[in-house]
């Protein structure tokens, strides 16, 4: 197989990051586990948020993990795609809203 920077099999090794820094690694995984527990938001809602963020962060590992997680929770592909559009809308909105800064700068320099 062609070598690439990302190897899907590396996702299975994620837990191993604690080996080189046990305390911080464990703290991260404790925190991570806690975040995804059922709370004011359902675990289902959190899974959809994670999927959307995985896309805006463009992390292939997280995309694989939360696509599968969504399926396991019975979330439909239509729901997952809608979540990604929410992420995409925020991401493009965030890009575009900085256009106001550009306009301010242009107006100041070249009014």
């Amino acid at each position: 197989m062609q070598k690439t920077y990302y190897d899907p099999a590396d996702l299975r090794k994620f837990g191993k990051i604690t080996e080189w820094s046990e305390e911080l690694g464990n703290k991260f995984f404790d925190y991570y586990g806690k975040v995804f527990e059922e709370g004011a938001l359902t675990a289902r809602e959190k899974s959809l948020i994670a999927l959307a963020v995985a896309h805006t962060e463009q992390c292939p590992y997280c995309i694989d993990a939360y696509s599968k997680d969504g399926l396991q929770r019975g979330i439909t592909k239509e729901e997952m795609m809608e979540a990604i559009h929410v992420g995409a809308a925020i991401k493009s909105g965030a890009t575009l809203v900085h256009g106001v800064q550009m306009m301010n700068k242009i107006n100041k320099l070249d009014g």
């Binding site: 299975r12 675990a43 399926l71 396991q72 019975g74 439909t76």
Partner: protein, 351 residues
């Protein structure tokens, strides 16, 4: 969706030794993953021992009106294996002598066995506590001669357990065939209409959820909530419990895993989700599975892999409680499917 059984297609995977070869070699033989035997040995649970018999699961034949993509039985309209009345009589004789409180009829579509009604009538006279029929639902709508099944079930106080892959049409039809969703919904409404599945009703209607692809089932309680909400809102349907079941890598599901290049990842996922606490409650410890021709197995999966019970009594005609109790259960890598996550049995999670 498949249209023919693997057997009819002449597929290599229709042979149990071929399936066992795939399951035992590769990632298990080269040591990437521990064998199930090694894994349960870590917590001193090998050998797995049979406890007192509580559940008799009877597979009355592999004939089915559906050809679901993931069928572990490789059932379908082209399968002709059918239990005879004589074998059924032998089973009835045994039930009278055992303390088994649950009789669980499965298939194929058990209703397609020509002696099905006779067997239910005779068996219900014996006074079993929980008399289960695993109905695929569509059979109730398949043909006029089955239309009265809801009433027939009611008359004999049958506990109906039915598969439903999802509350949406797309996912259900993908796994079980075009039109299955609509027919299943109609069948559930008819079961509801005679009183099945109502909150206070003694007519038990449970659904089985197994994933439509190469992933494990999510939390059973959460899935039940989502199923109940969707089926109620969309179709006014009620049912009692949802059992979440993991697909075991045998027969057509194994074929699917290999063809879709998901086999290794799936086995990794099963091993990663291995839960030692689920081992003590795997269903083989209190169940005996009987094949259409009367042979005894630890479970329906071992039956499909042709792994007979490890006992001198191999056939229902030789049934002997002393010989069977405490026997070592026959295991292989497919058993990881029963011990992943919250565990999986015919009654859903076990841990």
């Amino acid at each position: 969706m498949a249209t023919k059984s693997l057997k009819k297609q002449g597929s290599d995977l229709a042979k149990s030794n071929k399936q066992l070869e795939i399951l035992s070699n590769g990632i298990f033989q080269n040591g990437e993953l521990p064998t199930f035997k090694n894994k349960i040995s870590e917590s001193n649970q090998f050998p797995l021992k049979a406890k007192t018999l509580e559940i008799l699961q009877v597979n009355v034949g592999y004939m089915c009106n559906q050809v679901c993509e993931h069928c572990h039985v490789d059932a379908g309209p082209d399968r002709k294996e059918i239990m005879t009345q004589e074998t059924m009589q032998q089973i009835l004789d045994v039930i009278k002598t055992t303390g088994a409180h649950t009789l669980d009829l499965t298939g194929g579509a058990p209703e397609m066995n020509p002696n099905f009604r006779w067997f239910v009538e005779e068996a219900s006279k014996i006074g079993i506590k929980d008399f289960i029929v695993r109905s695929n639902l569509t059979i109730i709508r398949a043909n006029k001669k089955y239309y009265d099944l809801p009433d027939f079930f009611k008359k004999h106080n049958i506990h109906v357990v039915s598969s439903m892959p999802h509350w949406t049409r797309g996912k259900t039809d993908k796994q079980r065939g075009e039109g299955v969703f609509d027919m299943s919904i109609k069948a559930l409404q008819e079961l509801n209409a005679v009183g099945y599945g109502m909150p206070d009703s003694n007519l038990k209607l449970d659904l089985v959820y197994n994933p439509s692809g190469a992933f494990l089932p999510g939390d059973q309680a959460a899935m039940e909530k989502d199923f109940k909400k969707a089926l109620m809102e969309d179709f006014g349907i009620q049912f009692h419990n949802l059992f979440a079941i993991t697909n075991l890598p045998i027969a057509r599901f194994l074929d699917y895993l290999i063809a879709s290049e998901n086999y290794e990842d799936y086995m990794y996922a099963l091993v990663e989700a291995y839960n030692p606490n689920a081992v003590k409650n795997v269903m083989c410890t209190n169940t005996l599975s009987i094949s259409w021709d009367g042979y005894l197995f630890d479970c329906d999966f071992n039956q499909m892999l042709e792994l007979p019970v490890n006992s001198k009594a191999k056939h229902i005609s030789e049934y002997n409680e002393e010989l069977l109790e405490g026997r070592n259960i026959v295991i292989s890598q497919h058993c990881y499917g029963c011990t992943a996550g919250a565990g999986s049995s015919c009654q859903g999670s076990v841990a």
